[in-house]
């Protein structure tokens, strides 16, 4: 098997200095001072040609450092990186643009900075402009562009070089959906041509749609590397446990500001099944109930309760009306328990989130009791994809005999 990138025992240690002077002096010292911080620890990975590798991990886990070393921007502390082929790196799409120059001039500027000869850019010019698809703005100074337009232009230049290895670091976050699709199409095209792609994205949705292998980094260490599915599953498990940990740790109640806690204290929240047992997994079409305990410490005249159901991408599916008198709850001083039953949830199997707020319209304050609590819907029978089940009936002028 031929490899595009072979990484062996790669370690990157950043040194943290108390002052820039120390850093300058340290460059000339035999014995180094300065506190050490390991961004990557003893990483060994072989990436075969033609794979699309998703690099997963939380912020600060070493993803960007790895990409920077592979591209050659940053140097490693120890270990080796062998790269076979021409790399085009998209560490940032818009860097290197000059605000005053026009879009066309910036194409040349960025290509030049990437080391592409002018004649080559000249050849690709029209294709780049067409791909960027920002219309007549292309002749205007880049300072008049929106961030999405800049990203379009940057991406268009970066993919024009026909690389063997493409490195994409979380650059699709800006730009609208049609542009994202276009980018993914382009990368898909690269993949079909047998090019190797390293891809960092926090959108697991995108990753699942198009990567073949996964690499999960945690605190600079390689946790998993292999076929995408299992790696993503383990990573997601880890993310869930992380969230659970933040929830569980006392004194760290998310979204509960101190000043408001003098008035209202949320003392408990749990989702329960029909039998009253705590769970976060529910069956499609069953009722989802949750219990919510709160203590009113100072008299408030009116409390309203409002909840929101979101999908895993935080898209709102349903939010209860905040103004509706029906949603008013007990507001006398003392401890209360509120039970909410969401009836016959029509959600398709998958992960969702539940969040909610306590409102007092008179004083305009609110307390969010839970910040996007996850829950899972399971389904025995596959009915279709999406968010919500739609019941339907066929009436066909059937050829009944």
């Amino acid at each position: 098997m031929s490899y595009a990138i072979r990484i062996k025992n790669l370690t990157k240690t950043y040194k943290i200095y108390s002052s820039p002077r120390e850093r300058a002096l340290d460059a000339f010292r035999k014995k180094h001072r300065g506190q050490e911080f390991s961004a990557l620890r003893n990483l060994t990975v072989d990436i075969p040609v033609g794979e699309v590798v998703a690099i997963l991990g939380k912020n600060g886990s070493g993803k960007s450092t790895l990409l920077k070393i592979v591209t050659g921007v940053s140097s490693q502390t120890s270990g080796t990186v062998d790269v076979d082929g021409r790399i085009s790196a998209m560490l940032e799409l818009t860097s290197g643009f000059d605000q005053e120059l026009s879009g066309v001039e910036n194409i040349y500027l960025r290509a030049l900075a990437m080391g592409i000869p002018r004649e080559e850019t000249e050849r690709h010019r029209d294709a780049i402009i067409e791909f960027a698809d920002i219309g007549k703005h292309i002749t205007q100074p880049v300072r008049t562009y929106s961030s999405g337009m800049k990203a379009r232009l940057g991406f268009a230049v970066s993919v024009s070089v026909d690389p063997d290895i493409l490195i994409v670091d979380e650059v699709l976050a800006v730009g609208d959906d049609s542009f994202k699709l276009k980018c993914i199409d382009k990368m898909e095209e690269f993949r079909r041509q047998g090019k190797t792609i390293l891809f960092v994205s926090h959108s697991l949705f995108t990753v699942k749609a198009f990567c073949t292998k996964g690499m999960w980094l945690k605190d600079g260490e390689l946790m998993e590397y292999g076929e995408l599915g299992p790696v993503v599953m383990k990573y997601q498990d880890f993310l869930r446990s992380e969230i659970a940990k933040t929830k569980a740790s006392p004194g760290k109640k998310t979204g509960l500001p101190d000043t408001k806690s003098d008035v209202i204290k949320v003392s408990g929240f749990r989702m329960v099944d029909d039998a009253g047992k705590p769970t976060t997994t529910f069956v499609h079409r069953d009722d989802l109930s949750f219990e919510f305990r709160y203590t009113v410490k100072k008299p408030v005249d009116k409390l309203t309760f409002c909840f929101t159901v979101r999908n895993a991408e935080h898209m709102e599916i349903f939010m209860a009306d905040k103004q509706n008198p029906r949603n008013e709850i007990a507001s006398s001083v003392g401890e209360h328990t509120l039970r909410v039953r969401l009836q016959e949830l029509n959600l398709i199997a998958g992960n969702y989130e539940l969040s909610g707020e306590l409102w007092n319209n008179a004083s305009g304050f609110y307390v969010s009791y839970s910040n996007k609590r996850p829950f899972t819907i399971e389904q025995d029978e596959f009915l279709g994809t999406g968010i919500m089940r739609v019941d339907y009936e066929f009436e066909n002028d059937a050829d009944q005999v």
Partner: protein, 271 residues
């Protein structure tokens, strides 16, 4: 020692191998600096000309101190030196901050970092050459004319470019690590302007002070521009001084070989 020599060779190789890109970046740098303004490149000329006029006014009219120097009209004597100075001053302040100013090339793209100060200084050099052209025009039009000594201008302007590039490279490496260097350079420039014989003739000091003044390599270059246009002196007639200057250049090359690669490893982490 061996590694330093190796580093020096490496720095030179990087610059030679990427020469086309460096030239293109220098040209773009010029376009960038003056784009978005109506008069464009015109400003590159206007600023120094305005400066020169003000100095000339202050000295000729204000101080009434502009006796012809060594038989030459003050303005003609003053111009070559000050034009040389403008380039050196810009090269050290702008070129000396070039790596920090182009940090995106270091941290976001794969770019030959040692060429950054070079293309920055080169783009300033284009402007300088334009000014030298105007300077020659003034000499011709004023009826002062050009003689064979004028050919030395090629030598001196090359020496100036080399000195400015090497110094800017060294400064830019330090400046990338610490901002202090940029501030320091800016402050020192004013001091250097008055300590260099730009608006006063170098002959007016002699002895130990005169020697100190001449140890400043900028003095050699400023005097050189004058030698070529007004003083009619050959650079080899001051061969010891020329030797000293090239000694300084060698030291600068050596320092770059020693410092630059060491600091370059840190660039991506600090910028």
């Amino acid at each position: 020692m061996v590694t330093v020599v190796q580093n020096m060779v490496d720095l030179a190789t990087v610059n030679v191998r990427n020469f086309h890109r460096t030239m293109a970046m220098a040209r773009v740098g010029l376009v960038k600096r003056y784009s978005g303004s109506l008069l464009g490149i015109f400003w590159a000329i206007v600023r120094p000309l305005l400066f020169i006029s003000v100095y000339w006014f202050a000295i000729q009219v204000g101080l009434r101190g502009s006796r012809p120097v060594g038989g030459e009209p003050f303005l003609l004597w003053f111009l070559p030196g000050v034009i040389c100075w403008f380039f050196i001053s810009d090269a050290l302040t702008i070129g000396g901050a070039s790596i920090r100013a182009n940090s995106h090339l270091v941290t976001k793209l794969v770019f030959p970092v040692p060429t950054i100060p070079v293309f920055t200084v080169l783009s300033l050099y284009f402007v300088h050459l334009m000014l030298v052209g105007i300077l020659i025009g003034i000499f011709v039009l004023s009826g002062y004319g050009l003689d064979i000594y004028f050919l030395q201008l090629f030598y001196y302007s090359f020496a100036t470019l080399l000195f400015a590039t090497l110094t800017a490279m060294l400064l830019s490496a330090f400046d990338a690590i610490s901002r202090d260097v940029g501030h320091m350079v800016k402050s020192i420039m004013t001091v250097l302007f008055w300590l260099t014989p730009i608006i006063w003739p170098v002959d007016s000091v002699d002895g130990f002070v005169g020697l100190l003044v001449r140890l400043n390599p900028v003095c050699y270059l400023v005097q050189g521009y004058r030698n070529s246009l007004v003083l009619d002196t050959w650079f080899f007639s001051e061969w010891l001084y020329s030797l000293y200057f090239w000694g300084v250049i060698l030291v600068l090359i050596f320092l770059n070989g020693y410092v630059f690669p060491k600091l370059q490893r840190e660039f991506a982490d600090v910028l």
